[in-house]
Symmetry: C2
Subunit: 359 residues, 2 copies
DNA sequence: CTGAAAGCGCTTACAG
DNA sequence: CTGAAAGCGCTTACAG
């Protein structure tokens, strides 16, 4: 490894001068010296020693990737491909920009605090963090941060968030199902374990069990359903158990309701695929008897039958955007907007069938 | 942050003594002092400064998680949930043991070298590395390393590898299909882009296009098929294009062969699911007309119809094992075996139908 | 315009 | 049995 001293020796100057050039404190260095040093720096592909960087408190170029939730569909959340894909995208971008990504299995706030400060991380990308958890973390840790897929109920964000336009996704689905002749369609989402105390309180009042992201989708869905003046009751938003056997049981119980609705929109492809096959097991065909719409556009969506109509979200773009915004914050920029939406698009395939004379 | 000096001040000794206790250089320290210092260390939850650790070259407790391949099924490989799941498992284990995980998008050897040495990493876990690539890396980088899912053709490994027992997985499938009345079943795997020059050379001689892992599965499959004395020709090992349209086209062309075989075993669930639906589109029903077996037991395997018979591999266990072995190496242990198999298990569901009078 | 020196928090060979 | 001191590679206030 080449050291600052080596550069200085080659240039015939002191470490100080090289360091000054390196950091642009160049007001009082002769142009000649600057040029000479820059050239050597280039040629030798000099990289400052990490230990020294940390020790002198000049930032670490480490981004912490905090995984804030553990389970989905009863599986570890990472079996869902979303996290992996997002991480890969962030990692790629970070590597291109000369940053490093360290994982924090952020189950507890204490761990996040400890690791982020020990490593003097430049910034954090947090996935699966509720607004409340983030505020609490924020109080104790002063680091640049970008959240991914965190939702607020206030109209204004006072932190950076990169999300998809869930509302619009829901709207597209609702609107599409209405046009296809299903004014009674249901929206079904899975209960979420990542709820905080605050949110749980709301749960007890009988709402929002499925997390704010699904709530947004539902609201969009409702708006889409109501665009021609009809009314879409909250009773058409079903929150189903996360536990798989319990969920199946629940479906058994409400089977007549499902059939009557004629079309079912889901908060995830996984739940949609599961339903298609649940119905199949009960002799009910999709889309002939019941139509189904998913959310996510997973790699299986195109390959199952019927090919799944679902909402595409560009996870890769999300990762790039999240990193990009974080980097800009780290480098001192102040970002005007605090919330960025990744666009979302309904992909029409074969799991919805046009109904001519709606019920 | 509490420093070594602080501990020394509290104990009324010098930094040296604290450091000595910390590192067990305790031969010439009085028991009394040791006890006192240990107690303070405990209470203050002292953590050495990372910068100093790096600077003094005492290891970093960083594990590099090197992602060595990019694409699968024409998607970025991380969309496959395998990487994410493995990473999460390694991360959990590492965090429990006080290690940190940094991602290296190891597309190029140069990057891996650079990052691993800059950060003075204690060890590396490499995914999707061929033996040849690893040897080359090894020559330039002297670090403890554990490979995951790397295969050799020699009978002996001279490096650590954690894999699944592909051969046995293949064997279980072959043996099962034979018993179910399909002595002519085919094994189908997808071409792999991660081949090195060396392997490519072999490709040109018409073999091993699908990577060594699938080759192992095929060999097991063949052995299972031959257990009653029959012969299973290499012509029953089909390697199909990675590019999706090309693969579909290929399937179109060999459709009669597929039907005639009666049963198809795949190198991945993804390919198996795809085939089920490909056949469905051509009016061929699974398992009534053709039986299908997958590999991996992905989360969709149970939820599609017919429920997919496939081979389960315990990815989480694999991650734990990989980290555990790496940690032991880092801590100076010499591991006797160099290759560890994670066991594998055929999960029988509904995609294979017993045939009474085999063709 | 340039460099000597102190300091960041640790380890370790060495002197007492 | 214990501690003063040098050194790891860098930054920066300060003196020339």
């Amino acid at each position: 490894m080449i050291r600052l001293q080596d550069i200085a020796d080659i240039a015939g100057v002191s470490r100080t001068t090289v360091s000054n050039v390196l950091h642009g404190n160049t007001k009082r260095v002769s142009q000649e010296t600057i040029d000479k040093i820059k050239k050597i720096l280039e040629e030798s592909n000099y990289q400052p020693n990490i230990g020294s960087m940390l020790l002198t408190g000049k930032g670490s170029r480490i981004i912490g990737f905090v995984i804030g939730y553990d389970y989905a569909h009863g599986y570890p959340s990472t079996m869902d491909s979303f996290i992996g894909e997002l991480l890969a995208s962030v990692q790629n971008e970070a590597e291109r920009q000369g940053y490093y990504v360290m994982i924090i299995g952020g189950s507890t706030e204490k761990r996040v605090l400890e690791i982020a400060s020990r490593w003097n991380m430049d910034g954090l990308i947090l996935i699966g963090y509720s607004e409340e958890r983030y505020r609490s973390l924020r109080r104790k840790l002063n680091k640049k941060a970008v959240l991914v897929d965190t939702y607020t109920q206030q109209s204004r964000y006072d932190y950076q968030n990169v999300g998809i336009d869930d509302y619009d996704g829901g709207y597209q689905v609702g609107s599409y199902l209405l046009e296809m002749g299903y004014p009674e369609a249901l929206f079904i989402a899975e209960e979420s374990r990542m709820l905080t105390n605050n949110e749980n309180r709301r749960v007890q009042s009988g709402r929002a069990l499925a997390g704010l992201s699904n709530e947004r989708r539902w609201q969009g869905f409702k708006a889409g359903m109501e665009k021609e003046g009809a009314f879409c009751s909250i009773r058409r938003y079903l929150v189903v158990p996360e536990d798989t056997p319990a969920r199946k049981q629940y479906y058994e119980r409400i089977l007549p309701q499902l059939q009557e609705a004629g079309a079912l929109a889901f908060g995830s492809d996984y739940n949609a695929v599961e339903m298609i096959n649940f119905l199949y097991d009960h002799g009910i065909r999709v889309p002939d008897q019941v139509s189904v719409v998913g959310f996510d556009d997973c790699i299986y969506a195109e390959s199952i039958r019927p090919r799944l109509t679902t909402v595409f979200q560009d996870v890769q773009q999300k990762g790039i955007t999240a990193f990009d915004r974080l980097q800009r914050m780290i480098e001192g920029e102040t970002l005007p907007e605090t919330y960025v939406y990744a666009p979302v698009k309904l992909v029409v395939r074969d799991s919805v069938k046009k109904r001519e004379n709606p019920g």
